[in-house]
């Protein structure tokens, strides 16, 4: 069995999860606290990747990230290389695709935090940033962990978006879901079956972990 697509999927999922948790946490915090006109519209926009067919999202990402798209041109100006059909390209595509899976559990965890605890931290001299790092984050660990697991699982299973934006370049963008599809296309069922079988315990153990965290979080609250 060719292990490269599986390792690439794990690497992609790890990088995307790490980046998305860091990027989505402040956004989820702002959404949990702020009251502003158009908040419902912004939240619906953030959740849109969850409702759209992945190929539709992938198509628009391909347009934006392509050589004529604003993101593609911007990337090329900075790095000197194109964005589509690269590992970096599929990481960016996954960040957008998985954003709602990161935002929802984190926002729910932040909303559960007692407002008077934040006020107490302010009175005790903590800046909003220090309060976020020293009070909010430690008290939202279960929400952060749930977000990380959901993003990781969805990253491993992503197919349509990655195929549109990354194609199938071995070692660069050919992740396990695409490798399975290609193996089936070329009637290599045994190879496809082995890859599928490896994915089941990985996904199952992460779901089990998510279940344990959710139970523990319920017990705490």
């Amino acid at each position: 069995m060719d292990w490269q697509p599986l390792f690439l999927s794990l690497k992609l999922a790890a990088v995307s999860t790490f980046l998305l948790i860091i990027l989505a946490a402040p956004l989820a915090y702002a959404l949990s606290l702020a009251r502003f006109v158009g908040k419902a519209f912004l939240e619906a926009l953030i959740n849109l990747p969850m409702a759209l067919p992945p190929t539709v999202l992938g198509f628009y990402l391909l347009v934006i990230m392509g050589p004529k798209g604003f993101l593609g041109r911007f990337w090329e100006t900075i790095t000197g290389s194109p964005l589509v059909f690269t590992f970096q390209g599929i990481v960016i595509a996954l960040l957008i695709y998985c954003l709602p899976f990161a935002i929802q559990p984190m926002k729910a965890a932040f909303e559960k935090i007692d407002r008077s605890m934040l006020e107490s931290a302010y009175v005790l001299g903590l800046s909003p940033l220090a309060t976020f790092l020293r009070v909010i984050i430690p008290n939202s660990i279960s929400g952060l962990a749930a977000a990380a697991i959901l993003v990781f699982i969805h990253s491993i299973g992503a197919f349509g978006v990655l195929l549109m934006v990354g194609g199938s370049i071995p070692g660069e963008t050919k992740v396990v879901s695409i490798a399975i599809y290609e193996a089936v296309e070329s009637l290599a069922y045994r190879e496809a079956g082995r890859m599928c079988l490896v994915l089941i315990p990985i996904s199952y153990s992460f779901l089990l972990l998510l279940n344990l965290i959710t139970r523990r979080s319920r017990a705490w609250s």
Partner: protein
């Protein structure tokens, strides 16, 4: 070290309009019925709410001046605020909660011993009683070496015996600290027992005669009901007498 406040704030059912001061060695009790605006006053002093107009100064330092657009955030006022529902940090144990904003780590042990919670230092804050949580909250605020101490109905959720013990501790504390202490309550016996000065607030206004009128009303009720006790003579009775019961 005098704290002066003169503020107005529009609230949903009335306008809060108060002006008073508190000197360093005094414990000022703000008393009044529920919904009178007491907590709003204390929140404005802490910097958690902004007045619509007015000034708040401490020791010549302006914390709020709406005309000049000055507003010092709570982080920079260096005050202690013991909330009604004592929001401790659940991810930290008792000792770490007390040390959370301590300026000097050595005072943490001393304060915890003084308030008799040193033996609970490694406990999770969810596993201690209401009275112990409140003691922890008081220590947490004192460890910061506050310049003003604000107590917002700190004993309201406690049983009568714990309340009485904590009152005695606050009374002792007042003698040790030389800072203005403002205590909000709707419990009249607590107010008369603790306060050097009483400030009655009703519907957002200071009503000096309100407490007197309330006492007359209560006295006449007790006479009609055949109750012999008068104010301050029976603590057990007074412990349960609150203004909101009017």
């Amino acid at each position: 070290m005098e704290l002066k406040i003169s503020v107005k704030k529009r609230l949903p059912s009335f306008e809060l309009d108060v002006a008073f001061s508190c000197s360093p060695d005094k414990l000022l009790v703000i008393i009044g019925p529920s919904g009178a605006g007491k907590t709003t006053i204390i929140r404005m002093l802490a910097g958690l709410d902004k007045p619509d107009e007015g000034t708040i100064t401490f020791n010549g330092e302006t914390w709020v001046d709406t005309k000049k657009g000055i507003f010092v955030p709570p982080q920079k006022r260096q005050l202690g605020y013991v909330f009604q529902d004592y929001p401790l940090f659940p991810h930290l144990n008792v000792q770490k909660n007390v040390a959370f904003a301590a300026q000097d780590e050595t005072c943490v042990e001393r304060l915890m011993k003084q308030f008799d919670i040193w033996h609970l230092r490694n406990r999770n804050v969810a596993m201690i009683s209401g009275g112990e949580r409140q003691r922890c909250a008081i220590c947490q605020n004192l460890a910061r070496k506050p310049r003003v101490l604000l107590l917002d109905e700190p004993f309201s959720a406690l049983d009568a015996v714990t309340r009485k013990t904590l009152r005695t501790e606050i009374k002792q504390l007042k003698g040790e600290l030389c800072i203005p202490i403002i205590h909000v309550t709707h419990d009249i016996s607590e107010a008369t027992q603790l306060g050097d000065e009483l400030l009655s607030v009703v519907q957002g206004r200071i009503v000096p005669r309100w407490l007197f009128q309330f006492r007359l009303k209560d006295l006449s009720f007790r006479r009609r009901a055949g109750i012999e006790d008068i104010w301050g003579q029976n603590d057990t009775y007074n412990d349960n007498l609150e203004v909101s019961s009017l």
